[in-house]
C-alpha cells in the first residue's frame, strides 16, 4: 500500500460507493492505504465488485448495506467498521439522489427524499463520525456537494437546496471541530460522467470550458487530497471540480 497516512489507526467510510464517484473515491482511498467501508443501498453486486477491486490491489474493504436516508443508518454502518478496523477517521458523504422537477410542480415527496438522502444523512453520519474523530484528534469529513449548490440550475430546486445546505453545514461544522485536528470540507463537482448525469445533453458540454464531462477519478483525486495529511490546514472549504464551468 502506497502513501499510508500517518494518522491514528482507523478506517474510511464512503457512502454510495457501489458505483460512479463513490466507487472511485473508495478505490482511491484504498490506494492511499485506508481500509474502506463501501456503503451501498441496493447495488450489492456493485459494492462487492469495488471491494474485490480493492482487495486485488492489496487493500482492505468491507461492503456495508444501509439506506443513508434512514435515521438508523449510522448504527448499521459504524459498529461493523469500528469493531474490525478501529475508528472511522475518514467519512465521505457521497450518497446522493435527484428527483428533478420545476418548483411549481415539485411534490413534497420529491423534496423530502432528496433532502433526507443528500443533506440529513450527511448530518447524521457526520455527527456520529465526529465522536471518534474528536477523541482521536484526527478526522476528515468530505461532503460531496455540487456546483448546483452554488448557482442556479432550473429543475433542481430540491437538489440545489440539499447541496447548498451541505456546503453551509460543512463550513460551520469545520469551525466547531477544527481545534481537534478534524477537517470538514466539501467537493463540488460539475458535470461528471456517471449514471446520475445520464441524459444531460451535448449543449451543456459547450458551457464547460474543458469541453468535456469530468471523470469520477478526477473528483476522487480531490477527496483523496482533502483526506490526506497534506490537507491538514484546509478546513471548511468547498473545492470545485468542474472543468472551469463556474469560473
Amino acid at each position: 500500500m502506497a502513501d499510508v497516512n500517518d494518522g491514528p489507526e482507523g478506517c474510511a467510510l464512503v457512502t454510495g460507493a457501489s458505483r460512479g464517484i463513490g466507487a472511485a473515491i473508495a478505490r482511491g482511498l484504498a490506494e492511499d492505504g485506508w481500509t474502506v467501508g463501501v456503503n451501498y443501498r441496493k447495488d450489492q453486486e456493485g459494492a462487492e465488485k469495488v471491494v474485490e477491486e480493492i482487495e486485488s490491489g492489496g487493500g482492505s474493504a468491507l461492503a456495508l448495506q444501509a439506506d443513508v436516508s434512514d435515521p438508523a443508518a449510522a448504527d448499521a454502518l459504524f459498529p461493523p467498521l469500528e469493531e474490525r478496523f478501529g475508528t472511522v477517521l475518514v467519512l465521505v458523504n457521497n450518497a446522493g439522489m435527484r428527483a428533478d422537477g420545476l418548483a411549481p410542480q415539485l411534490e413534497d415527496d420529491a423534496w423530502d427524499r432528496v433532502i433526507d438522502t443528500n443533506l440529513s444523512a450527511a448530518f447524521r453520519l457526520t455527527r456520529r463520525a465526529l465522536r471518534g474523530m474528536m477523541r482521536a484528534r484526527f478526522g476528515r469529513v468530505v461532503n460531496i456537494a455540487s456546483i448546483v449548490g452554488q448557482r442556479a440550475n432550473p429543475g433542481q430546486a430540491n437538489y440545489a437546496a440539499s447541496k447548498a445546505g451541505m456546503i453551509a453545514f460543512t463550513g460551520t461544522v469545520a469551525a466547531e471541530v477544527a481545534r481537534r485536528s478534524v477537517t470538514v470540507n466539501a467537493v463540488a463537482p460539475g458535470l461528471v460522467d456517471t449514471e446520475l448525469t445520464e441524459g444531460i445533453g451535448d449543449e451543456l458540454l459547450r458551457a464547460i470550458p474543458a469541453r468535456r464531462a469530468g471523470t469520477p477519478e478526477e473528483v476522487a483525486a480531490c477527496v483523496r487530497f482533502l483526506a490526506s495529511d497534506a490537507a491538514s490546514y484546509v478546513n471548511g472549504t468547498t473545492l470545485t471540480v468542474d472543468g472551469g464551468m463556474t469560473a
Binding site: R131, M134, R135, E176, V177, R179, R180
Partner: protein, 82 residues
C-alpha cells in the same frame, strides 16, 4: 460502573480536562469551566467520555447547570449509582 465513587470520577474528569488543555494544578472541585479555559466543544467531548465510561447521559440542558468541576462530578456520581 455503578460503584464509581466521586474521587474516581473526579480523577477521570481531571484527566479528560487536562487532555483538553486545562492546567492540572488548576483543576479542583470549585474550578469553573471558564477559569480552566474549557469551552463548549470540550464539554461535548467530556459528555461523550462520561456516557461511554459511566453510562450517564449529560445533555445540553444538564450542562447548562454545571458551572464547575464539582457540579459535573456530582451529576455523574448521582446518576451512575441509580
Amino acid at each position: 460502573m455503578a460503584s464509581a465513587d466521586k474521587d474516581q470520577i473526579q480523577e477521570r474528569m481531571t484527566e479528560a480536562l487536562e487532555s483538553f488543555g486545562a492546567d492540572r494544578e488548576a483543576i479542583n472541585r470549585d474550578a469553573d469551566w471558564e477559569s480552566l479555559d474549557i469551552d463548549s466543544l470540550d464539554l461535548v467531548e467530556l459528555a461523550q467520555i462520561v456516557e461511554e465510561e459511566y453510562g450517564v447521559q449529560m445533555k445540553e440542558e444538564d450542562m447548562k447547570n454545571m458551572k464547575t468541576v464539582g457540579d459535573a462530578v456530582d451529576f455523574v456520581s448521582e446518576r451512575a449509582k441509580s
